[in-house]
């Protein structure tokens, strides 16, 4: 069992909302704060994919940004290859973003875009050498080296995501965070990009954190899955086990809600994700949970192991009521 390439340890992120200037000037603590992420831990091994699932407001995007250093954690730590994440490790970590239109600078050529990480982080590389390397990267994602001279608007959404992937792989990272990389793409293009990502992972042994709200896609790519609700992990499990036998009531709700299963008579889920500024006491899911009891309303459940390598944060599961 190799040691994990990526570790998230009790990650938390709290966003303080700006107050009136006189409150800040007087040094008072901020009145409103948003706990976007709390106590999230997981690890990923070389060549494996951890799928992070959740709806909007669950905190999954914030976790992704914490893992690449775009936000500084309010608590906890990120470790890459056993080392705490810092500027020296930047070239090990990269990200592919959701929006193929906003993630590439419209005024730069593809060659400049894909070559930027090399320019920033590999100072020894000369211009000609960079040119060659960019050509190799473009070929690896199914584009041609000549595409380097073109501008992003001349490419389709799927091709732009390929360019993003090429940029992400430029410095040969060991860890790639993919934030909804195929959500904005058509189904047939999504298939191409997902297949490409799997191939690249096999060839290069990159660890992926795959963030998505689409459970079917997550099922297709992940080895292990974490389900997030209101900023916390409510279930963490090997992929096959999660989909075969979901333990947490929210996971079940999500799986039931996936369209296309034609389960007539299934009760559609009620309610929506809680207001992040004013989360319910106790377990954040209790207002929507069929199994909620007094303890659920008062005490927040911790992630505890259940059978089969699965970890669940639910009193009902821990008490055997599910």
């Amino acid at each position: 069992m190799s040691s994990p390439v990526v570790e998230a340890i009790d990650l938390s992120k709290r966003f303080a909302l700006p107050d009136a200037w006189w409150r800040r000037a007087l040094g008072r603590p901020p009145r409103r704060a948003l706990q976007a992420v709390a106590d999230v831990s997981f690890s990923i091994e070389r060549g494996k994919t951890f799928g992070l699932v959740g709806e909007s407001g669950s905190g999954k995007t914030t976790v992704g940004r914490l893992m690449v250093g775009l936000h500084a954690p309010s608590g906890g730590a990120v470790r890459i290859g056993g080392q705490p994440f810092g500027p020296a490790l930047r070239r090990q970590v990269q990200m592919v973003f959701q929006d193929p239109y906003a993630s590439l600078n419209p005024r730069w050529t593809v060659r400049e875009i894909v070559g930027e990480p090399l320019r920033e982080q590999q100072h020894g590389m000369g211009r000609a050498e960079r040119h060659v390397r960019v050509g190799e990267l473009l070929a690896a994602v199914g584009l041609s080296a000549d595409d380097g001279a073109r501008f992003p608007h001349q490419f389709s959404g799927g091709q732009r995501q390929r360019i993003s992937i090429a940029r992400a792989l430029a410095t040969d990272p060991s860890f790639l965070v993919c934030d909804e990389p195929t959500s904005a793409l058509d189904v047939s293009v999504q298939a191409q990009v997902l297949n490409l990502m799997k191939d690249l992972q096999r060839e290069r042994g990159v660890a992926y954190l795959f963030i998505s709200h689409n459970l079917a896609v997550v099922r297709h790519v992940s080895d292990e899955v974490g389900v997030m609700y209101a900023g916390r992990l409510v279930e963490r499990s090997p992929a096959a086990a999660l989909f075969a036998r979901p333990r947490h009531p929210y996971t079940r709700l999500l799986l039931d809600a996936v369209p296309g299963q034609r389960r007539d008579g299934a009760v559609p889920p009620q309610g929506e994700m809680p207001d992040p500024f004013d989360p319910p006491a106790g377990c954040a899911f209790h207002p929507r949970c069929p199994l909620a009891n007094e303890r659920c309303r008062a005490e927040r459940p911790r992630l505890l192991p259940a059978d089969g390598g699965v970890q669940v944060a639910c009193h009902a599961v821990a008490e055997g009521r599910d």
Binding site: Q192, H220, G260
Partner: protein, 324 residues
């Protein structure tokens, strides 16, 4: 056999641009029965939104209907002026769009927007309109409807907002709702609630719904029949079970194969190489032929019409004369 509520024949929609005319829809024909939920599926650029816009009279000029006809309840509606649309739009044909945030006016209360719509189409007093508005809100599943009439759109959550939009659409007692990606901007669990709502409303009121979406899963859950669009044409049309389970057109089959399913994980997703052709460069013959795994002799030269293919109708030469 009841007369179709909506009949589209040979519809051709063109957008003139500085580079020449862009044919967004090319000879599209289909019908909708009263109370039926028809899914229009396709990838970006296939023409499904344009079809919806043409039917609702909302084509962005200079786009226009350049050929064919659209009949609603027997009456031609494709060449109506905006003025002639007034008694029809919002009343008999209503629309729902993707983003509830932009569909609702943020400055007015929900109650005001509802009563305004009601009183535009029906003679009623302000008090009666308010009562009816509350009824509509509660019918779309908003709890405490009467008290929520005085709330503004931003005070509702995403799913609730979309329900308000649906209530607005229902206000005119329409016979047909054109819904363009109504659930795409919503979370998965909320999506399921909205699709269930649409289905219920359709059953209860005999309301026909044209559900435009790129999500086959939503279609499978909600629709009675499905039309699959490709490059401005209908590739296949038929009952939903047949389209999903036994598709006749290679493109439909490719689409189904490309969707990752919860049921059986595959190592590799079926990949349709290439991409949908740009509308300025549609291939000759069958538009799909350059990407088709089953392409053969007639495909590149002759454009196929919709022909019977088992339980569906597919525009594919493979089904000519009943071969398959």
């Amino acid at each position: 056999m009841t007369a179709p509520l909506l009949s589209v024949r040979g519809l051709r929609v063109v957008f003139p641009t500085r580079r020449g005319d862009l044919v967004a829809l090319d000879d599209v024909s289909f019908e909708m029965a009263p109370g039926e939920i028809l899914g229009m599926v396709g990838e970006s650029g296939a023409g499904k939104s344009v079809t919806g816009a043409a039917i609702a009279g909302l084509l962005d000029p200079p786009g226009h209907v350049a050929g064919g006809e659209i009949r609603f309840d027997g009456q031609r509606i494709d060449q109506l002026t905006q003025r002639a649309w007034q008694p029809l739009r919002g009343r008999h044909i209503a629309t729902i769009f993707q983003d509830p945030l932009t569909a609702l006016n943020p400055l007015y209360t929900v109650g005001r927007q509802l009563t305004e719509t009601l009183r535009t189409h029906f003679p009623m007093s302000a008090a009666a309109a308010r009562r009816r508005a509350a009824e509509l809100l509660s019918e779309t599943g908003i709890p405490g409807a009467a008290s929520r009439l005085d709330d503004h759109p931003h005070q509702f959550s995403g799913g609730m907002r979309q329900r308000v939009v649906i209530a607005l659409a229902l206000a005119g007692e329409p016979r047909l709702i054109v819904a363009d990606e109504p659930t795409t901007a919503l979370d998965v669990s909320v999506q399921a609630q909205i699709t269930a709502l649409l289905r219920r409303l359709s059953r209860e009121r005999g309301l026909a719904v044209m559900l435009i979406t790129h999500d086959m899963g939503v279609v499978a859950d909600t629709c009675d029949r499905v039309a699959v669009m490709y490059a401005g044409r209908i590739a296949e049309i038929g009952p939903v079970d047949a389209i999903v389970g036994r598709p006749g057109h290679p493109y439909t089959a490719g689409l189904m194969g490309a969707i990752p399913g919860l049921a059986s994980p595959r190592e590799r997703l079926v990949q349709i190489d290439g991409a949908m052709p740009r509308l300025t460069a549609i291939p000759s013959g069958c538009a799909f032929h350059p990407r088709c795994p089953r392409v053969f002799e007639p495909c590149a030269s002759r454009r196929p019409d919709l022909m019977p293919a088992g339980a569906t109708r597919a525009a594919c030469w493979l089904h000519e004369g009943g071969l398959a």
